[in-house]
Amino acid sequence: MAAEKSSIKIITLIAADGSVFEVEPNIVKEMKTVQSYIDELDQNTVSIPLPNVFGNDLAMIIEYCKKHASEEETKEAKEEFDFEFVKRMKSDDKLRLLQAASYLNMESFLQFMAKAIAAEIENQSVEFVRDYFQIESDFTPEEEAELRKENEWAFK
Protein backbone atom coordinates (compact mmCIF):
# COMPACT_ATOMS: atom_id res chain seq x y z
CA MET A 1 0.00 0.00 0.00
CA ALA A 2 2.68 2.47 1.06
CA ALA A 3 4.63 1.85 -2.14
CA GLU A 4 1.56 2.50 -4.31
CA LYS A 5 0.84 5.78 -2.58
CA SER A 6 4.34 7.07 -2.89
CA SER A 7 4.29 6.39 -6.64
CA ILE A 8 1.67 9.11 -7.09
CA LYS A 9 3.52 12.20 -8.22
CA ILE A 10 0.83 14.76 -8.83
CA ILE A 11 -2.75 15.16 -7.69
CA THR A 12 -5.20 17.12 -9.78
CA LEU A 13 -8.04 18.84 -7.94
CA ILE A 14 -10.99 20.13 -9.95
CA ALA A 15 -13.04 22.84 -8.26
CA ALA A 16 -16.79 23.47 -8.66
CA ASP A 17 -16.20 26.14 -11.34
CA GLY A 18 -13.95 23.83 -13.33
CA SER A 19 -10.62 25.40 -12.35
CA VAL A 20 -7.83 22.88 -12.06
CA PHE A 21 -5.09 22.67 -9.42
CA GLU A 22 -2.10 20.38 -9.58
CA VAL A 23 -0.52 19.68 -6.22
CA GLU A 24 1.95 17.32 -4.62
CA PRO A 25 0.59 14.52 -2.41
CA ASN A 26 1.92 16.01 0.84
CA ILE A 27 -0.21 19.14 0.28
CA VAL A 28 -3.49 17.21 0.42
CA LYS A 29 -2.58 15.15 3.48
CA GLU A 30 -4.81 17.31 5.68
CA MET A 31 -7.77 16.87 3.34
CA LYS A 32 -9.23 13.59 4.52
CA THR A 33 -11.92 13.63 1.83
CA VAL A 34 -9.27 13.84 -0.90
CA GLN A 35 -7.06 11.34 0.88
CA SER A 36 -9.78 8.71 0.93
CA TYR A 37 -10.10 9.14 -2.86
CA ILE A 38 -6.38 8.62 -3.33
CA ASP A 39 -6.39 5.55 -1.11
CA GLU A 40 -9.16 3.99 -3.17
CA LEU A 41 -7.65 4.65 -6.58
CA ASP A 42 -4.64 2.64 -7.56
CA GLN A 43 -3.11 4.94 -10.16
CA ASN A 44 -0.06 7.06 -10.76
CA THR A 45 -1.98 10.21 -11.50
CA VAL A 46 -5.19 11.06 -9.75
CA SER A 47 -7.75 13.65 -10.67
CA ILE A 48 -10.36 14.46 -8.06
CA PRO A 49 -13.52 16.54 -8.62
CA LEU A 50 -14.52 18.74 -5.67
CA PRO A 51 -18.03 19.96 -6.60
CA ASN A 52 -18.59 21.80 -3.32
CA VAL A 53 -15.49 24.01 -3.35
CA PHE A 54 -14.94 27.00 -5.61
CA GLY A 55 -11.62 27.71 -7.30
CA ASN A 56 -10.85 30.88 -5.34
CA ASP A 57 -11.43 29.11 -2.04
CA LEU A 58 -9.47 26.05 -3.08
CA ALA A 59 -6.54 28.26 -4.08
CA MET A 60 -6.52 29.79 -0.59
CA ILE A 61 -6.76 26.42 1.11
CA ILE A 62 -3.88 25.08 -0.99
CA GLU A 63 -1.81 28.13 -0.11
CA TYR A 64 -2.48 27.48 3.57
CA CYS A 65 -1.63 23.78 3.23
CA LYS A 66 1.60 24.52 1.35
CA LYS A 67 2.79 26.84 4.08
CA HIS A 68 1.87 24.44 6.87
CA ALA A 69 3.27 21.34 5.15
CA SER A 70 6.62 23.01 4.59
CA GLU A 71 9.37 21.75 6.86
CA GLU A 72 11.60 24.73 6.17
CA GLU A 73 9.20 27.25 7.67
CA THR A 74 9.56 28.02 11.37
CA LYS A 75 6.65 27.91 13.78
CA GLU A 76 6.80 31.71 14.04
CA ALA A 77 6.67 32.13 10.26
CA LYS A 78 3.61 29.89 10.12
CA GLU A 79 1.89 31.88 12.86
CA GLU A 80 2.70 35.12 11.06
CA PHE A 81 1.26 33.63 7.88
CA ASP A 82 -1.95 32.58 9.70
CA PHE A 83 -2.34 36.09 11.06
CA GLU A 84 -1.99 37.71 7.62
CA PHE A 85 -4.13 35.00 6.02
CA VAL A 86 -7.10 35.83 8.26
CA LYS A 87 -6.48 39.57 8.02
CA ARG A 88 -6.93 39.77 4.27
CA MET A 89 -10.16 37.75 4.30
CA LYS A 90 -13.68 39.14 4.29
CA SER A 91 -16.33 37.67 6.58
CA ASP A 92 -17.98 35.84 3.68
CA ASP A 93 -14.66 34.24 2.75
CA LYS A 94 -14.28 32.88 6.25
CA LEU A 95 -17.75 31.38 6.28
CA ARG A 96 -17.22 29.79 2.86
CA LEU A 97 -13.82 28.45 3.85
CA LEU A 98 -15.31 26.99 7.02
CA GLN A 99 -17.79 25.05 4.90
CA ALA A 100 -15.08 23.99 2.49
CA ALA A 101 -12.95 22.79 5.42
CA SER A 102 -15.89 20.77 6.66
CA TYR A 103 -16.49 19.24 3.21
CA LEU A 104 -12.81 18.44 2.74
CA ASN A 105 -12.71 17.10 6.31
CA MET A 106 -9.70 19.18 7.34
CA GLU A 107 -9.66 19.17 11.10
CA SER A 108 -7.09 21.81 11.98
CA PHE A 109 -8.11 24.20 9.20
CA LEU A 110 -11.71 23.89 10.38
CA GLN A 111 -10.64 24.83 13.91
CA PHE A 112 -8.63 27.72 12.52
CA MET A 113 -11.60 29.12 10.58
CA ALA A 114 -14.11 28.58 13.40
CA LYS A 115 -11.78 30.44 15.74
CA ALA A 116 -11.35 33.30 13.26
CA ILE A 117 -15.13 33.63 12.89
CA ALA A 118 -15.64 33.50 16.67
CA ALA A 119 -13.12 36.32 17.03
CA GLU A 120 -15.20 38.46 14.67
CA ILE A 121 -18.47 38.09 16.56
CA GLU A 122 -16.90 38.27 20.00
CA ASN A 123 -18.10 41.25 22.04
CA GLN A 124 -20.48 42.30 19.28
CA SER A 125 -24.15 43.21 19.58
CA VAL A 126 -26.98 40.83 18.74
CA GLU A 127 -27.75 43.00 15.71
CA PHE A 128 -24.18 42.71 14.44
CA VAL A 129 -24.20 38.92 14.73
CA ARG A 130 -27.57 38.69 12.99
CA ASP A 131 -26.20 40.74 10.14
CA TYR A 132 -22.99 38.74 10.07
CA PHE A 133 -24.72 35.40 9.58
CA GLN A 134 -27.58 36.97 7.57
CA ILE A 135 -30.14 35.70 10.03
CA GLU A 136 -33.76 36.78 9.78
CA SER A 137 -35.19 36.90 13.26
CA ASP A 138 -38.46 34.98 13.54
CA PHE A 139 -39.28 36.47 16.93
CA THR A 140 -41.81 39.15 17.68
CA PRO A 141 -40.34 42.07 19.66
CA GLU A 142 -42.15 40.73 22.73
CA GLU A 143 -40.67 37.26 22.28
CA GLU A 144 -37.20 38.69 21.87
CA ALA A 145 -37.58 40.81 24.99
CA GLU A 146 -38.71 37.73 26.87
CA LEU A 147 -35.68 35.75 25.67
CA ARG A 148 -33.32 38.56 26.58
CA LYS A 149 -34.81 38.57 30.07
CA GLU A 150 -34.46 34.80 30.33
CA ASN A 151 -30.79 35.02 29.36
CA GLU A 152 -30.19 38.25 31.24
CA TRP A 153 -27.08 36.89 32.96
CA ALA A 154 -25.40 36.41 29.61
CA PHE A 155 -25.84 40.08 28.70
CA LYS A 156 -24.16 41.40 31.83
Binding site: A16, D17, P51, N52, F54, D92, L95, R96, L98, Q99, S102, L110, Q111, A114, K115, I117, A118, A119, I121, E122, N123, V126, V129, R130, F133, Q134, I135, E136, S137, D138, F139, E144, L147, R148, N151, W153, A154, F155, K156
Partner: protein, 299 residues
Protein backbone atom coordinates in the same frame (compact mmCIF):
# COMPACT_ATOMS: atom_id res chain seq x y z
CA UNK B 1 -30.54 21.09 1.64
CA UNK B 2 -27.04 20.05 2.55
CA UNK B 3 -26.87 17.45 -0.17
CA UNK B 4 -27.87 19.60 -3.14
CA UNK B 5 -25.75 18.53 -6.11
CA UNK B 6 -25.24 21.75 -7.99
CA UNK B 7 -23.01 24.47 -6.57
CA UNK B 8 -24.94 26.86 -4.41
CA UNK B 9 -24.93 30.62 -4.62
CA UNK B 10 -23.02 32.54 -2.00
CA UNK B 11 -26.16 33.60 -0.20
CA UNK B 12 -27.38 30.03 0.09
CA UNK B 13 -24.07 28.91 1.39
CA UNK B 14 -24.16 31.37 4.27
CA UNK B 15 -27.63 30.44 5.42
CA UNK B 16 -26.91 26.76 5.07
CA UNK B 17 -24.12 26.55 7.62
CA UNK B 18 -24.97 23.35 9.47
CA UNK B 19 -25.78 23.27 13.17
CA UNK B 20 -22.55 21.40 13.74
CA UNK B 21 -20.48 24.15 12.14
CA UNK B 22 -22.28 26.90 14.03
CA UNK B 23 -21.77 24.98 17.29
CA UNK B 24 -18.14 24.71 16.41
CA UNK B 25 -17.89 28.48 16.19
CA UNK B 26 -19.74 28.88 19.50
CA UNK B 27 -17.21 26.62 21.19
CA UNK B 28 -14.62 29.36 20.75
CA UNK B 29 -16.74 31.92 22.58
CA UNK B 30 -17.19 32.26 26.32
CA UNK B 31 -20.33 30.56 27.66
CA UNK B 32 -21.96 33.94 28.20
CA UNK B 33 -21.16 35.10 24.73
CA UNK B 34 -22.46 31.84 23.29
CA UNK B 35 -25.75 32.04 25.19
CA UNK B 36 -26.32 35.57 23.93
CA UNK B 37 -26.79 34.07 20.48
CA UNK B 38 -29.98 32.33 21.63
CA UNK B 39 -31.90 35.56 20.97
CA UNK B 40 -30.84 35.62 17.29
CA UNK B 41 -33.62 33.39 15.99
CA UNK B 42 -35.50 30.26 17.02
CA UNK B 43 -32.91 28.03 15.35
CA UNK B 44 -30.22 29.43 17.64
CA UNK B 45 -32.11 28.69 20.87
CA UNK B 46 -31.39 25.02 20.49
CA UNK B 47 -27.84 25.55 19.22
CA UNK B 48 -26.54 26.63 22.62
CA UNK B 49 -27.77 23.41 24.16
CA UNK B 50 -25.71 21.45 21.65
CA UNK B 51 -22.31 22.97 22.41
CA UNK B 52 -20.01 20.05 23.13
CA UNK B 53 -17.40 21.85 25.22
CA UNK B 54 -18.55 24.01 28.10
CA UNK B 55 -15.89 26.08 29.80
CA UNK B 56 -16.98 28.20 32.70
CA UNK B 57 -14.56 30.91 33.69
CA UNK B 58 -15.68 32.43 36.94
CA UNK B 59 -14.61 36.05 36.94
CA UNK B 60 -12.54 37.92 39.46
CA UNK B 61 -15.24 39.98 41.06
CA UNK B 62 -16.94 40.60 44.37
CA UNK B 63 -18.34 37.72 46.37
CA UNK B 64 -21.95 38.71 45.65
CA UNK B 65 -21.28 38.80 41.91
CA UNK B 66 -19.46 35.55 42.15
CA UNK B 67 -22.31 33.62 43.72
CA UNK B 68 -24.65 35.00 41.06
CA UNK B 69 -22.28 33.87 38.34
CA UNK B 70 -22.12 30.42 39.88
CA UNK B 71 -25.92 30.21 40.02
CA UNK B 72 -26.17 31.07 36.34
CA UNK B 73 -23.49 28.60 35.40
CA UNK B 74 -25.32 25.91 37.29
CA UNK B 75 -28.63 26.91 35.69
CA UNK B 76 -27.02 26.40 32.28
CA UNK B 77 -25.88 22.96 33.34
CA UNK B 78 -29.28 22.00 34.70
CA UNK B 79 -30.87 22.77 31.35
CA UNK B 80 -28.51 20.45 29.54
CA UNK B 81 -29.51 16.90 28.96
CA UNK B 82 -27.59 16.05 25.85
CA UNK B 83 -24.12 14.68 25.92
CA UNK B 84 -21.35 17.09 26.79
CA UNK B 85 -17.83 16.27 25.76
CA UNK B 86 -15.93 18.59 28.03
CA UNK B 87 -16.88 20.43 31.16
CA UNK B 88 -14.43 22.88 32.67
CA UNK B 89 -14.69 25.20 35.65
CA UNK B 90 -11.98 27.65 36.41
CA UNK B 91 -12.15 30.08 39.25
CA UNK B 92 -9.37 32.26 40.48
CA UNK B 93 -11.17 33.72 43.44
CA UNK B 94 -12.37 30.53 44.99
CA UNK B 95 -15.75 28.96 45.54
CA UNK B 96 -17.51 27.12 48.32
CA UNK B 97 -17.05 23.36 48.70
CA UNK B 98 -20.72 22.52 48.10
CA UNK B 99 -20.57 24.28 44.72
CA UNK B 100 -17.74 22.07 43.55
CA UNK B 101 -19.60 19.04 44.83
CA UNK B 102 -22.76 19.96 42.92
CA UNK B 103 -20.79 20.40 39.72
CA UNK B 104 -19.06 17.09 40.03
CA UNK B 105 -22.35 15.31 40.59
CA UNK B 106 -23.92 17.02 37.56
CA UNK B 107 -20.89 16.19 35.43
CA UNK B 108 -21.33 12.57 36.37
CA UNK B 109 -25.05 12.61 35.56
CA UNK B 110 -24.33 14.16 32.17
CA UNK B 111 -21.73 11.48 31.45
CA UNK B 112 -19.09 13.99 30.36
CA UNK B 113 -15.93 12.64 28.77
CA UNK B 114 -13.64 15.31 30.10
CA UNK B 115 -13.87 17.06 33.45
CA UNK B 116 -11.51 19.87 34.30
CA UNK B 117 -11.85 21.51 37.72
CA UNK B 118 -9.45 24.25 38.57
CA UNK B 119 -10.83 25.67 41.75
CA UNK B 120 -9.35 27.54 44.61
CA UNK B 121 -11.63 26.21 47.27
CA UNK B 122 -12.18 28.09 50.48
CA UNK B 123 -11.93 24.92 52.56
CA UNK B 124 -10.31 21.56 51.91
CA UNK B 125 -13.04 19.79 50.02
CA UNK B 126 -13.98 16.19 49.62
CA UNK B 127 -15.49 15.53 46.22
CA UNK B 128 -18.34 13.03 45.91
CA UNK B 129 -16.89 9.55 46.06
CA UNK B 130 -19.11 8.51 43.14
CA UNK B 131 -16.78 10.54 40.89
CA UNK B 132 -14.25 7.76 41.27
CA UNK B 133 -16.59 5.30 39.61
CA UNK B 134 -17.17 7.04 36.33
CA UNK B 135 -17.38 4.90 33.22
CA UNK B 136 -17.60 7.86 30.81
CA UNK B 137 -14.58 9.93 31.85
CA UNK B 138 -11.62 9.87 29.47
CA UNK B 139 -9.84 12.93 30.84
CA UNK B 140 -9.91 14.07 34.47
CA UNK B 141 -8.05 17.12 35.68
CA UNK B 142 -8.40 18.26 39.28
CA UNK B 143 -6.59 21.18 40.72
CA UNK B 144 -7.02 22.95 44.01
CA UNK B 145 -7.66 22.39 47.65
CA UNK B 146 -9.25 19.02 47.16
CA UNK B 147 -8.97 16.59 50.00
CA UNK B 148 -7.21 13.44 49.18
CA UNK B 149 -8.98 10.92 47.00
CA UNK B 150 -6.52 8.32 48.10
CA UNK B 151 -8.06 6.06 50.65
CA UNK B 152 -7.95 2.32 50.62
CA UNK B 153 -11.65 2.00 51.50
CA UNK B 154 -12.71 3.86 48.34
CA UNK B 155 -13.29 1.84 45.19
CA UNK B 156 -11.76 3.34 42.05
CA UNK B 157 -13.23 2.42 38.68
CA UNK B 158 -12.31 4.50 35.62
CA UNK B 159 -12.54 1.98 32.78
CA UNK B 160 -12.13 4.63 30.03
CA UNK B 161 -9.76 7.08 31.67
CA UNK B 162 -6.68 7.96 29.60
CA UNK B 163 -5.45 11.20 31.09
CA UNK B 164 -5.33 11.97 34.81
CA UNK B 165 -3.95 15.20 36.26
CA UNK B 166 -4.03 15.67 40.02
CA UNK B 167 -2.64 18.91 41.32
CA UNK B 168 -3.82 18.81 44.85
CA UNK B 169 -2.86 21.64 47.13
CA UNK B 170 -3.40 19.68 50.22
CA UNK B 171 -1.23 19.61 53.24
CA UNK B 172 -0.25 16.58 55.12
CA UNK B 173 -2.62 15.78 57.95
CA UNK B 174 -2.73 12.17 58.97
CA UNK B 175 -0.21 9.41 58.80
CA UNK B 176 -2.71 7.10 57.15
CA UNK B 177 -2.59 9.13 53.96
CA UNK B 178 1.09 8.50 53.76
CA UNK B 179 0.72 4.78 53.63
CA UNK B 180 -1.70 4.64 50.72
CA UNK B 181 -0.51 2.54 47.83
CA UNK B 182 -0.95 4.58 44.67
CA UNK B 183 -1.21 1.39 42.66
CA UNK B 184 -4.53 0.74 44.27
CA UNK B 185 -5.80 3.87 42.51
CA UNK B 186 -4.03 3.12 39.23
CA UNK B 187 -5.41 -0.42 39.10
CA UNK B 188 -8.82 1.22 38.72
CA UNK B 189 -7.58 3.01 35.58
CA UNK B 190 -6.57 0.16 33.26
CA UNK B 191 -6.34 2.34 30.12
CA UNK B 192 -4.40 5.24 31.61
CA UNK B 193 -1.79 6.77 29.28
CA UNK B 194 -0.91 10.05 30.96
CA UNK B 195 -0.53 10.73 34.66
CA UNK B 196 0.43 14.00 36.25
CA UNK B 197 0.74 14.11 40.02
CA UNK B 198 1.62 17.14 42.03
CA UNK B 199 1.41 16.29 45.65
CA UNK B 200 3.21 16.19 48.92
CA UNK B 201 1.03 13.58 50.47
CA UNK B 202 2.01 10.13 49.60
CA UNK B 203 5.31 9.25 51.11
CA UNK B 204 6.40 6.04 49.44
CA UNK B 205 5.41 6.39 45.79
CA UNK B 206 4.93 3.23 43.83
CA UNK B 207 3.69 3.45 40.26
CA UNK B 208 3.32 0.24 38.37
CA UNK B 209 1.31 0.32 35.16
CA UNK B 210 1.50 -1.49 31.84
CA UNK B 211 0.07 1.10 29.44
CA UNK B 212 1.22 4.38 30.95
CA UNK B 213 3.09 6.44 28.33
CA UNK B 214 3.60 9.83 29.95
CA UNK B 215 4.37 10.47 33.60
CA UNK B 216 4.93 13.79 35.29
CA UNK B 217 5.68 13.89 39.01
CA UNK B 218 6.03 17.06 40.99
CA UNK B 219 6.87 16.15 44.56
CA UNK B 220 6.86 18.71 47.32
CA UNK B 221 8.50 18.72 50.62
CA UNK B 222 6.55 19.84 53.67
CA UNK B 223 9.27 21.03 56.02
CA UNK B 224 8.09 18.89 58.93
CA UNK B 225 8.56 15.62 57.11
CA UNK B 226 12.05 14.27 56.85
CA UNK B 227 11.52 10.61 56.29
CA UNK B 228 10.46 9.93 52.72
CA UNK B 229 9.80 6.54 51.25
CA UNK B 230 11.26 5.48 47.93
CA UNK B 231 9.98 6.38 44.48
CA UNK B 232 9.35 3.10 42.71
CA UNK B 233 8.48 3.01 39.03
CA UNK B 234 7.65 -0.02 36.96
CA UNK B 235 6.22 1.28 33.69
CA UNK B 236 7.31 -0.69 30.61
CA UNK B 237 5.36 1.44 28.09
CA UNK B 238 6.55 4.78 29.43
CA UNK B 239 7.90 7.14 26.75
CA UNK B 240 8.08 10.50 28.50
CA UNK B 241 9.18 11.01 32.08
CA UNK B 242 9.25 14.35 33.89
CA UNK B 243 10.29 14.46 37.54
CA UNK B 244 10.56 17.43 39.84
CA UNK B 245 11.64 16.29 43.24
CA UNK B 246 12.12 18.53 46.26
CA UNK B 247 12.30 15.56 48.57
CA UNK B 248 15.22 13.32 49.13
CA UNK B 249 14.23 9.92 47.91
CA UNK B 250 15.64 6.62 46.92
CA UNK B 251 14.85 5.76 43.33
CA UNK B 252 13.95 2.28 42.25
CA UNK B 253 13.26 2.21 38.53
CA UNK B 254 12.58 -0.99 36.67
CA UNK B 255 11.32 -1.61 33.13
CA UNK B 256 11.85 1.93 31.88
CA UNK B 257 13.49 0.77 28.66
CA UNK B 258 11.05 2.65 26.40
CA UNK B 259 11.60 6.11 27.85
CA UNK B 260 12.93 8.32 25.06
CA UNK B 261 12.53 11.72 26.68
CA UNK B 262 13.27 12.53 30.31
CA UNK B 263 13.42 15.74 32.29
CA UNK B 264 14.86 15.66 35.80
CA UNK B 265 14.76 18.53 38.28
CA UNK B 266 16.20 17.82 41.68
CA UNK B 267 16.47 20.49 44.31
CA UNK B 268 18.11 18.47 47.05
CA UNK B 269 21.51 16.94 46.70
CA UNK B 270 21.11 13.21 46.53
CA UNK B 271 23.98 10.84 47.26
CA UNK B 272 25.92 9.39 44.37
CA UNK B 273 24.19 6.07 44.68
CA UNK B 274 20.76 7.66 44.41
CA UNK B 275 21.64 9.63 41.28
CA UNK B 276 23.32 6.62 39.75
CA UNK B 277 20.17 4.59 40.24
CA UNK B 278 18.05 7.36 38.80
CA UNK B 279 20.11 7.77 35.63
CA UNK B 280 20.80 4.09 35.22
CA UNK B 281 17.07 3.41 35.31
CA UNK B 282 16.55 5.52 32.21
CA UNK B 283 19.68 4.50 30.34
CA UNK B 284 17.85 4.09 26.99
CA UNK B 285 16.74 7.70 26.87
CA UNK B 286 17.38 9.68 23.67
CA UNK B 287 16.72 13.17 25.00
CA UNK B 288 17.64 14.05 28.56
CA UNK B 289 17.15 17.42 30.20
CA UNK B 290 18.78 18.06 33.56
CA UNK B 291 18.31 21.34 35.40
CA UNK B 292 21.42 23.23 36.49
CA UNK B 293 20.86 22.27 40.13
CA UNK B 294 20.66 18.64 39.18
CA UNK B 295 23.91 18.83 37.20
CA UNK B 296 25.62 20.45 40.17
CA UNK B 297 24.77 17.43 42.28
CA UNK B 298 26.21 15.07 39.73
CA UNK B 299 29.53 16.84 39.21
Amino acid sequence: MEEAKKPKTDHDRLSSLSDDLLCHILTFLSIKEAYRTSVLSSRWISLCSKILDLQFELPLSSKANMSREIQHAYAVLLRRNENIRKLAFHSQLGCKPHVAQLWVLRAKQLKVKELDLDLILQKPTILPISLLMSTSLVILKLRGNIKTLFHSSIVVNFPSLKILHLELLFLYTSTNDGEYDLNYFLCGCPCLEEFLLQDCLIRPINISHHLLKRLCLNLFNPSYITDFGPLQLNVPSLEILDITDCTLRKYEFINLFNVHRATIRLSKPSDFDGLYKLLNGISNVKSLILTSDTIKFIL
